[in-house]
């Protein structure tokens, strides 16, 4: 009997607010993830995707401006970097790592991995890990699969083999999970309790869905809604003692007219004295040590069963 297979990826209930612990008695974890992939189609970044003003801005002026803000506020971010972007902009990516930011993997070319065979996905995964390791001198511990603005759904693509392959390749965490607003374990095989730590993501705190979404010219500009969402979530999570994470795209947030709203938001965050500013890798490291799957994952026997005349 499948254990709620194809319905759930983890336990029946999240960790209670009162059980959450952050380092040094901090109250709430705060993360910024920067996506370095320019907009592309499901096949991933194609040559023409790099020959646009947006793509250029995202890796030059927009990135500089965003880094300026992160520096001023002393925030170390996680950069989700497709291997091809790291290869093309190796010095830039090395510079990010040298400045103390985390470099995490974001696919070989930010392709939709659910369209690939297991073997092809494994090959691309290995090539991505090798590229990022070679360029930064450190093996990435995290893997992201963030959505493209043209995707039908806002969660990012995960295939039938993705989680299993990430565990096989030794990744410590998967960066964008939607089933919780705390780190949680994504179980890909219930019998053997095979699982990967998954950090939370929610598209209401992702700039690309608010800034000329879905595309320049016809998209709508809602930066006020984005930052009202962020502020409301951060305040609520600070009270609960959980976590907040924001995803930014330099080609979008890097414009001066938008960056000013990010600065205001970071000013607001500064008013919360017990925030723990962490990269995703630091957050994952803390979680794996404090709430390991071995003790956290219950996977209690389920009353779930197959019924004739119903979906399995």
């Amino acid at each position: 009997m499948p254990w709620k297979d194809r319905y759930t990826i983890s336990d029946e209930r999240t960790l209670l607010d009162s059980d959450v612990r952050w380092p040094d008695g901090k109250r709430c974890c705060f993360r910024i993830v920067v996506d370095l992939a320019p907009p592309s189609g499901p096949a991933g970044i194609a040559p023409q995707d790099l020959a646009t003003p947006d793509a250029y801005f995202g890796l030059h002026g927009g990135l500089d401006a965003l880094l300026g803000v992160l520096d001023r506020y002393e925030v170390k971010a996680t950069f989700a970097v497709p291997a091809v972007i790291a290869e093309i902009h190796a010095d830039r990516v090395r510079g990010l790592a040298a400045a103390g930011h985390e470099i995490a993997a974001h696919g070989f070319k930010h392709e939709d991995v659910s369209l690939l065979s297991r073997e092809e996905e494994r090959t691309r995964l290995a090539r991505t890990t090798a590229s990022l390791t070679k360029i930064t001198g450190r093996r990435p511990t995290g893997w992201f699969s963030l959505a493209r603005p043209s995707d039908k759904f806002a969660g990012g693509a995960v295939g039938a083999h993705t989680i299993d392959l990430l565990i096989e390749a030794g990744y410590e965490y998967f960066g964008n999970g939607l089933a919780d607003d705390l780190p949680h374990y994504w179980v890909c095989d219930f019998a053997s309790r095979r699982a990967i730590l998954t950090l939370p993501y929610y598209y209401h705190f992702d700039d690309q869905f608010f800034l000329l979404f879905p595309r320049k010219g016809t998209g709508l500009e809602n930066p006020d809604a984005l930052f009202r969402n962020c502020r409301a979530e951060l305040d609520a999570q600070y009270k609960r003692g959980r976590q907040f994470s924001l995803v930014l795209h330099p080609h979008a947030i890097g414009w001066p007219n938008r960056l000013i709203l990010l600065e205001r938001f970071l000013d607001h965050a500064r008013g919360l004295p017990e925030l723990w500013y962490a990269t995703s890798a630091q957050c994952a490291e803390h979680w794996l040590a404090t709430f390991p799957a071995r003790t956290q994952l219950k996977l209690e026997p389920s009353i779930w069963r197959d019924h004739p005349g119903s979906l399995s």
Binding site: K4, R6, Y7, T8, I9, S10, D11, E12, R13, T14, S114, P149, S150, D151, K152, F153, A154, G155, G156, A157, V158, G159, A160, N176, G177, L178, A179, D180, D181, H184, Y202, Y203, H204, F209, F210, F213, P214, T218, G219, N222, D224, A225, L226, R228, N229, A232, E233, D235, A236, Q237, R240, R242, S302, I303, W304, R305, H307, G309, S310, L311
Partner: protein, 297 residues
């Protein structure tokens, strides 16, 4: 017959068909001009949650991250809604698919224990076309809820056929919105009337916060913030409060259970509670009251 009179006949036939359809639909819907609420009550507010979690996403065969988005409702969101309503001593109605009872038995039991109504939301969030299977699904859902809560559900939010619902002992449906107030839906001859507690799609969290809801295009996404929606819903409440009416706020635990929206709902409830005569019953209480005070004619 010349061509002009042929055209005229065609138009007459069109008009007759339209008149017949409109008359049939009207004969099945029966409005109540006003509702006489219990003494001291000015407005009834039903907080209702459709506890689909990932079930509808699964039925539509959506990809893993969509299922995970729904899973939030079962792991996290439902618990927060229970906690929120309990903190305000509000009894809510949780429309629960039968399969959810197998996926999240702890949450369903906890909600029932707090006194919230657990009502039907179809066995697996769809109604089979085959009448035998339809009855089988409805009974399975009823049994699943009764097994966990010890109470047979009397309400539903579903596309189930009215006749079947009545046969199976259901007292109300809360689906669609042919009128702003509770109203009856019956057969064309007025027989088999069942009370409907309407919820409007603009008083539904998913319409404002759920990406790709009802297959919407990316151009049509509603990525709104809670402040904006709080004001839309507050205005709706004030309007109904002024005339002594009814409001049904439809939530989904995977949407409203997010921390920023729980905080918004907390503010909204606090504003409502500051006024006299605001009643927060379960849907069952509203349905039983309306049926007693305004029986189907």
């Amino acid at each position: 017959m010349d061509s002009s009179s042929e055209f005229t006949h065609e138009l007459d036939r069109d008009l007759a068909a339209l008149e017949a359809k409109a008359a049939d639909y009207a004969a099945r819907h029966h409005r109540l001009a006003t509702i006489a609420w219990p003494a001291g009550v000015r407005i009834a507010v039903n907080f209702t949650a459709d506890f689909d979690a990932m079930l509808l996403r699964r039925v539509l065969n959506e990809p893993p991250q969509q299922l995970a988005k729904g899973e939030f409702g079962g792991r996290v969101g439902i618990w927060r809604l229970i906690e929120l309503f309990d903190s305000h001593a509000i009894k809510a109605t949780i429309f629960t698919p039968g399969r959810i009872c197998e996926l999240y038995p702890q949450a369903v039991k906890a909600a029932a224990k707090s006194g919230h109504e657990i009502a039907d939301h179809m066995w697996e969030h769809q109604v089979p076309k085959d009448p035998v299977l339809e009855r089988d699904h409805l009974r399975k859902a009823k049994d699943a809820i009764e097994t966990l809560t010890g109470r047979r559900p009397v309400g539903t939010r579903s596309w189930h056929t009215r006749e079947l619902l009545i046969e199976e002992g259901f007292v109300y449906n809360s689906h669609d919105s042919a009128d702003a107030l509770p109203h009856y839906v019956s057969g064309a001859d007025g027989s088999g009337a069942l009370i409907n507690l309407p919820f409007h799609y603009a008083i539904d969290d998913a319409m404002f916060f759920s990406f790709a809801w009802l297959n919407s295009d990316n151009q049509a996404q509603r990525m709104m913030d809670p402040d904006h929606v709080e004001e839309i819903w507050w205005a709706a409440f004030q309007q109904q409060y002024a005339q002594g009416g009814y409001l049904n706020i439809c939530m989904h635990p995977f949407v409203s259970g997010r921390a920023l929206r729980i905080a918004m709902l907390d503010r909204l409830i606090t504003r409502m509670k500051a006024l006299p005569g605001v009643w927060f019953p379960t849907c069952e209480q509203v349905a039983r009251h309306v049926v007693a005070a305004h029986p189907a004619s």
